[in-house]
């Protein structure tokens, strides 16, 4: 996370769109399927946040299938904000997964809904909810010299 990498902003939107579809399916599919889908999404978030944005299967799909049809991007975007957002997504979906596994279904639904709203906002209007929360969270931490 030290070197300022850059990413294609359209890839981020596609990534958010696929994430939203998967999370929506988690909400409406029956018992074993939903947990499996959620586990897959947790794994994808983990790869994006902890390895690199380009390493996630959704990003690979974008690079191999979508981008060749789109041409070059007008400009690239700093990878740090979306990567931080993937980490926030990883947090929410992990909570949801654990909640579903221990039978706390309501908690599971609420956490999944939060992650879904964030993904939908990102896919539809390009808003990065995790990034919006970043400064608010930093303000709460004790001041450093």
């Amino acid at each position: 996370m030290s070197q300022p990498a850059h990413v294609d902003p359209r890839g981020l939107r596609v990534n958010a769109g696929i994430t939203a579809v998967v999370l929506a399916l988690v909400l409406v599919t029956p018992e074993p399927v939903d947990v499996v889908l959620l586990a897959v999404q947790v794994a994808v978030f983990a790869v994006s946040a902890l390895v690199s944005l380009q390493a996630s299967p959704y990003a690979v799909f974008f690079t191999k299938v979508v981008r060749p049809r789109l041409g070059r991007p007008a400009e690239l975007e700093d990878a740090r904000p979306p990567r931080f957002a993937q980490l926030v997504g990883l947090g929410f979906t992990t909570v949801a997964l654990v909640a579903f596994l221990v039978g706390a279904t309501t908690v599971g639904y609420v956490a999944t809904v939060f992650a879904l709203v964030a993904a939908l906002l990102n896919a539809s209007v390009g808003l990065c909810l995790g990034c919006e929360l970043y400064l608010a969270l930093r303000r709460l931490s004790p001041a450093r010299a």
Partner: protein, 142 residues
Amino acid sequence: MAGIVALLAALVLTGIAAWAVKAKNGRFTHRPPSPDAEVLTATDIGAELGERATLVQFSSAFCSPCRATRILLTDIAAKVDGVTTVDIDAEQHLDMVRRLGIMRTPTVLVLDGAGVVSTRASGLPRREQVLAALGQAVGERR
């Protein structure tokens, strides 16, 4: 069944949030000039104040609209006489962030020639919004 309700709730929440953020972004507050308005000095912002007005942007690393905001403000400062712009890393100045009650990045403060905070907005503003806020800041001091 609960899943479908949750899905609908997510869609409604997204719609409301998208609308709210869109309405809020770049909207400058219209406060009447008051004697207890915050004042920022050259020391606070780490640069000389603009002769007529200063656009102070607070940015952070995890902020995608910050770059576009910076480009817009730099362009305006280059084109409008007596106006300068400063970009401040919010994380390096958390004390000032708390003092000014800044919650999001980017947040843009418009200072008049004396460093008094005239108005502010968060999110990526449109050019007309910044120009109108500048007009207000410069006008107040006459």
